[in-house]
Assembly symmetry: C2
Homo-oligomer: 232 residues x 2
DNA sequence: TAGATTGTTAATCGATTAACAATC
DNA sequence: TAGATTGTTAATCGATTAACAATC
């Protein structure tokens, strides 16, 4: 008697050759990529899993396991070519082939994201911005004019946009997400509290829950201080 | 022969009663908190782990395990009191007793964070803002005047500030972090690429790696599309 | 009391670490 | 060749799920 049936999950889409890479591993790739970029910039040519582990605070085993999910990038007795490994991981992450994306909501967060991020180096290319407010519509950010929210779904449909970045209040999210999905959007970078993945499991969603992250920090600090007080 | 000695980790600070709560569990608490708030607002009085599981896309077992790390908040045959559970988790997260914090760097991100977040409901209270730029110093955000970065460490020392929110470029992070730690700062909410936890393991750090998050989304979308193409 | 649901122990699953044969 | 280091298999560890006795 299973307690909750979460529907398809386990063997969905069992591919022929390469089997499913766990998200645990995928989430470490950007960090490898970042680190290898630094080594490359500093002129380091080769590195062993052991050295990399020391620098990154991981174990050499883990690094070898992670990289081997995607193929044998190393050479026995030598290690890994920094340049090649950097390029391979970049390729896996798709940084050379950016997908077009739109920002939904140009409040403080949308504006910060729009101005601050180096999107093109991350596999994403911003093509349009949308907002509800008449005051914001028409403003120019990064050379792009903010367009009325009502036109967002049509824009995505006409341009085949696959990624939407949600920087709207949580309460506005359910409606616009449905419209966007109907217009062909497949992936959401979600800054709202709305659980896109739960309500639309057919899409890809990556959440940035800043409130949750801050509360975790708050917990950890209190915990640390309590433990220190107890230890005396 | 261990491959990399990551120093203390396992049995550090073995407390008498309550044993170490895993971060996996802690990171779920804000989501429970958020969800229970919604239920409370909607007038729901009691809820079973099974109902909660269905609504949140978890298993009832997991919810009961998680909550039992902190004590028996439920009642057999009845379930959990929404109001009580919400209050208990809020208490665990320390939302009633906010810690003072400063924002280091008032660029796009610092400004967005400063304007957008409901800090006081998350256990954190912003008391000061700092920036390097002369243009930014003196600006008023949320009723607070931005102060020169050179005064940040002294401010924290004098006011006993324990939390710093890092919204500066990665390259500026190492220096200011050291200054802040020397001034008594214990916790960092880190928006930079600098690995605070690695370089200063004695502190508490919570990272928000927006670039990494975006790259993960980019990977997942490509993966999804490739799988769908292969499946045809 | 009977039904429901927790708290908790046991079983399973997945991720990390260790070990080592293959090989550069 | 000898030394180094990978790729990969086996062992361990931790987190999730299942099961069920306790109890409201």
């Amino acid at each position: 008697m299973q307690e909750a049936d979460r529907g398809l999950k386990k063997g969905m889409a069992i591919m022929p050759g390469k089997d499913q890479i766990s998200m645990t591993v995928v989430r470490r790739l950007p960090r490898y990529y970042r680190f290898l970029y630094g080594l490359k910039r500093d002129g380091v040519v080769r590195i062993s899993s052991r050295e990399l582990a020391v620098h990154m605070g991981l174990t050499a085993s883990q690094i070898r396991q992670d990289l081997n999910c995607f193929g044998g990038f190393g050479q026995q007795g030598y290690g890994y070519s920094v340049e090649q490994l950097h390029a391979e991981i970049g390729h896996i992450l798709g940084v050379n082939d950016p997908s077009p994306a739109v920002i939904i909501g140009i409040g403080n967060m949308g504006r910060a994201i729009g101005n601050y991020m180096d999107f093109d180096d991350r596999g994403v290319h911003i093509t349009a911005l949308f907002d509800y407010s008449e005051e914001v519509v028409g403003q120019v950010i990064r050379g792009m004019m903010v367009q009325p929210m009502g036109t967002a779904a049509d824009y995505c449909r006409e341009n085949g946009t696959k990624i939407a970045i949600l920087c709207i209040p949580t309460s506005s999210a359910p409606e616009i997400v449905t419209l966007l999905i109907n217009a062909g959007v497949k992936a959401f970078w979600n800054f709202t509290g709305y659980d896109v993945a739960y309500h639309h499991p057919e899409t890809v969603a990556e959440n940035v829950h800043l409130n949750d992250s801050l509360m975790t920090l708050s917990y950890s600090l209190r915990k640390r201080e309590t433990d220190e007080a107890d230890a005396i």
